[in-house]
């Protein structure tokens, strides 16, 4: 028997807590998810330009939405972090009150009954590799990817902020994405 690395155990607990929330409306499991994700959502919103008090309230809203929409969570379609990310992203878009973001037809994260928790673990492992690959990117590329996701900046706005020409930005992001794809093999 080989021992499971602690990080993998932690990820497996996130999935099982999320399923407990979904299937058993388990408040203790929710409290653990809150402990893990609420500070991360708060950090995400602060980096997207919210002031800390607003970010704190919205992080709470996001976690309450995680509970209320738990029936839509499907471990075979997204890691728990990604599922929370999509809810936090939508909250950030609402906060900005600028551009609505319609959802595609019946993309809805409706669970497929035949997909088991093991599928979720495979996806979780891939998303861990993605996290490692992101950490391994050269600083400049990584920063730009982060700005795209956290900073609420378009490619042109990023150019204005960093003083880099638009073509450079686009090619750096492309390079970073190619590297990520390569790391995912």
């Amino acid at each position: 028997m080989t021992e499971t690395p602690p990080e993998e155990t932690e990820k497996a607990i996130l999935i099982s807590d999320m399923l407990r929330v979904r299937d058993q409306r388990d408040r203790a499991a929710f409290a653990r998810l809150f402990g893990h994700f609420a500070p991360r959502v708060k950090g995400f919103l602060i980096r997207a330009g919210s002031d800390p008090a607003v970010a704190e309230d919205c992080a709470q809203d996001v976690m309450v939405t995680v509970w209320n929409k738990a029936h839509l969570y499907d471990p075979a379609r997204a890691s728990v972090a990604t599922w929370v990310f999509t809810i936090a992203r939508n909250r950030r878009i609402d906060l900005a009150r600028r551009d609505r973001r319609p959802e595609p037809e019946d993309l809805g994260w409706g669970p497929e009954p035949e997909t088991a928790q093991e599928d979720g673990l495979v996806l979780q492992q891939e998303s861990d590799r993605l996290g490692v690959a992101l950490k391994g990117l050269p600083e400049a590329q990584r920063e730009l990817i982060e700005k795209c996701y956290f900073g609420d900046l378009s490619h042109r706005e990023i150019a204005d902020v960093t003083g880099l020409p638009l073509g450079t930005i686009k090619s750096r992001i492309r390079l970073a994405l190619d590297k990520l794809r390569h790391a995912m093999g």
Binding site: E56, V84, D99, L107, S127, G131
Partner: protein, 217 residues
């Protein structure tokens, strides 16, 4: 939407658009085109899921401590009612996200003639970009035009061809300022497209240019 139909899509969204949609940073009009294409294209849905995973991986890194009492107030707000069941959208010619902007399916579109049999309906979006439905009668052409910004054109019915290729239902053409083109609808059927642009179109001949303020594009 039929499976066979999905297989025929050849022109997809760019990675830049899918990443922007995953990150939530696109203008509303572009979001509408992306959501409509995703409603017809499984390939791009899979790519979108990958870009959303990048968002999840980045979320895992950035924590700021919550104040005490945050958990308790969240717990006090948890819904105890059973969740609403998910209802799939009724099938229609227009993808569901577009139907919510039109207020119905194709028969609910409020067309306005713009001459030459071509009709358009401007959709209500934020001002960062504009979206409109275009009706091009079978065999007719949209005036030759170039672009100042980016223009996305998604085919919803029929097909059109321009200097670059032919586009059928589900295909999306991504045009930037380097492209000057004259889309022509297939002779077989009237063509309906969803078009979005983040800058006014620039017509190369004089008369459409004079019409431009009137067309509001």
């Amino acid at each position: 939407m039929q499976w066979g139909e999905r297989m025929t899509i050849k022109h997809h969204l760019t990675e830049q658009l899918l990443m922007g949609y995953a990150a939530g940073t696109l203008p509303e009009a572009f979001n509408l085109v992306v959501a409509s294409h995703l409603s017809m294209c499984d390939d791009c849905r899979a790519t979108l899921a990958a870009y959303e995973e990048i968002g999840g991986a980045l979320l895992e890194e950035a924590g700021v401590a919550m104040s005490t009492g945050g958990l308790d107030s969240a717990l006090a707000r948890l819904d105890t009612r059973a969740p609403e069941p998910v209802r799939p959208a009724a099938p229609g010619a227009l993808p569901a996200p577009l139907r919510s902007y039109v207020g119905g399916d194709v028969d609910a579109i409020r067309w306005r003639s713009v001459g030459g049999g071509v009709k358009q309906a401007i959709l209500p979006t934020s001002e960062s970009a504009s979206a409109r439905l275009l009706f091009i009668p079978a065999g007719a052409a949209v005036p030759d035009h170039g672009h100042r910004g980016m223009e996305l054109t998604l085919v919803l019915q029929g097909a059109f061809a321009d200097e670059t290729d032919r586009f059928v239902r589900g295909d999306v053409e991504v045009a930037d300022q380097d492209l000057e083109h004259m889309p022509v609808a297939d002779i077989g059927a009237d063509c309906i497209c969803l078009a979005a642009t983040d800058a006014p179109l620039r017509f190369t001949s004089l008369i459409p240019r004079l019409l431009q303020p009137f067309l509001k594009i």
